[in-house]
């Protein structure tokens, strides 16, 4: 019963959502479920943070290699969560200070490292070894240069620039035509995938979300 009841819950809630989509008059049925979802999704986030806390406490208690960093992690977690829960999250709170001067630089800098790695990767791996790769390279060049002012300036220096504006090449032809067609084909394929997996879940064929064990 530890697996059957959850599977029944999945099928039932899923079917209610589908029925209500076609019969909006019955949306009171689903409305309360949607509101519960928001609350449970909130608990799911707390679960994630709680799990992180336990894993790190475990490492500290075992004095695993580099356990000092786990202490830093836990201090960061408790200080941020504690200040936000006790004092609130509005302007002028300790939580806001942590967000502005700790979290923002850490997060923004961590992701800015990607600028260096993408440049290095492009230098090493981006070779026009075939017609397809060449096409990819040329499109990337046009977009990279054409979407920034320096590319527009270079294009405008060409004699035929007035008759073919760069914005039109990029917006109408590359982004609005080839990119749209390619992205739409990917989107249609992925969407059919989402629908079939969802159906498998509702019909009880796909059960991996229940995890292992009884």
């Amino acid at each position: 019963m530890r697996r059957e009841i959850p599977m029944a819950i999945t099928t039932l809630t899923g079917l209610i959502m589908i029925i209500v989509f076609f019969v909006p008059r019955w949306e009171d049925w689903s409305d309360i479920f949607l509101k519960w979802f928001t609350v449970i999704a909130g608990f799911a986030l707390v679960l994630g943070a709680g799990s992180l806390l336990l894993v790190n406490l475990n490492k500290i208690s075992r004095k695993a290699s580099g356990w000092g960093y786990n202490v830093v992690l836990i201090i960061g977690l408790l200080a941020t969560a504690g200040s936000g829960i006790i004092q609130g999250i509005g302007p002028g709170t300790m939580f806001d200070f942590i967000f502005v001067y700790f979290f923002t630089p850490l997060s923004a800098t961590m992701f800015s490292l990607l600028a260096f790695y993408i440049a290095s990767a492009a230098f090493r791996a981006f070779k026009a070894k075939s017609l397809e790769a060449g096409l990819l390279l040329v499109t990337a060049f046009i977009v990279m240069l054409g979407r920034v002012p320096i590319g527009e300036m270079m294009w405008n220096a060409l004699p035929f620039a007035q008759s073919i504006p760069l914005t039109e090449i990029i917006e109408k032809w590359i982004m609005g035509c080839f990119n749209t067609a390619g992205q739409r084909a990917i989107m249609l394929g992925a969407s059919i995938g989402i629908i079939s997996v969802s159906l498998k879940i509702l019909l009880g064929i796909e059960r991996s979300y229940l995890g292992g064990g009884d």
Binding site: F37, T38, F116, A119, G151, M153, T180, Q183
Partner: protein
């Protein structure tokens, strides 16, 4: 080791240094390159301009500080435009960090434009649930957002007596860095509930959004820092996006030159190998 081998095995830290210098120099010595605008951004601007005074814009802050530089300028430009046009702003966030992002954009701008909280703008804060939340909000914002970001009951905020659901909003703008974000707004708010939806997104997700522009599900699109810079130009404001465009230009040029150079080295090397055989 030949010069080609040396280039092929170049320590990547030299490339890092080169990129860093390419960013720093244009920020210290601006080139003031001319910026052109594009139709997807112009469409948002024109629609905002066409709205009557007092119309409500629903802004969803679906990003975190990791993409602050791409989306904060867009958010600031839209809020500035809205406040200049005497439009009302209701903010919410589908990302936890979006709550602070919205607060840090709205509070100083409201002070600058002398706007009153609760009457001219409201910040509803964050809610979990993503797409499920968006569906549920159609039955009334107040049921999902009984309080604003600071815990004040929405019934005590005059603007929220005017804004009940999506139909009360003239435009929905998703400032999106991923999931949940603009794709959910397009799927649910635009397609299912028929509201006008515009998006400001990170450049990474912009290409996918062109399919929605083409299908008419999206009113307009501001892609990345360039999109925000175009909007800043249209409202005649010199923000981070316009300030960053020179550096953006130089680094793009440098990366293109890197790729060209590495290709030349690759083909010369291949030719040498063939002739040696």
């Amino acid at each position: 080791m030949t010069v080609f081998d040396k280039i092929k095995n170049l320590d990547r830290r030299w490339i890092f240094l080169f990129i860093l210098i390419s960013v720093i120099i244009p920020l210290l010595i601006p080139l003031n390159l001319k910026l052109n605008t594009s139709k997807p951004v112009e469409d948002i601007y024109s629609y905002m301009n066409s709205l009557p005074e007092g119309s409500v814009i629903l802004m969803s802050f679906d990003y975190s500080p990791s993409t602050e530089i791409e989306l904060n300028p867009a958010a600031i430009a839209i809020v500035r435009h809205a406040f200049q046009k005497k439009l009302k702003v209701v903010a919410l966030a589908l990302w936890p960090m979006g709550a602070s992002m919205s607060q840090n954009v709205l509070t100083p701008l409201a002070k600058e434009y002398n706007k009153e909280y609760g009457k001219d703008y409201v910040n509803l804060g964050y809610k979990a649930g993503g797409s499920v939340l968006l569906i549920s909000m159609n039955n009334g914002f107040a049921t999902e957002f009984p309080t604003d970001i600071n815990g004040t009951a929405v019934t005590d905020l005059p603007l929220m007596n005017q804004v009940k659901d999506y139909k009360s909003c003239a435009l929905v703008v998703s400032l999106s860095a991923g999931v949940p974000g603009m794709k959910e707004y397009v799927q649910i708010v635009a397609t299912r509930f028929g509201s006008k939806v515009a998006a400001a997104c990170t450049a990474v997700s912009a290409p996918e959004m062109y399919t929605f522009l083409n299908s008419g599900q999206l009113l307009g699109l501001m892609g990345g820092l360039k999109g925000a810079a175009e909007y800043e130009k249209m409202i005649d404001y010199n923000g981070d996006a316009r300030k960053g465009m020179d550096a953006q230009s130089v680094v793009h040029l440098v990366i293109v030159l890197f790729i060209l150079f590495s290709n030349v080295v690759y083909f010369v090397d291949e030719y040498r190998k063939k002739t040696a055989e």
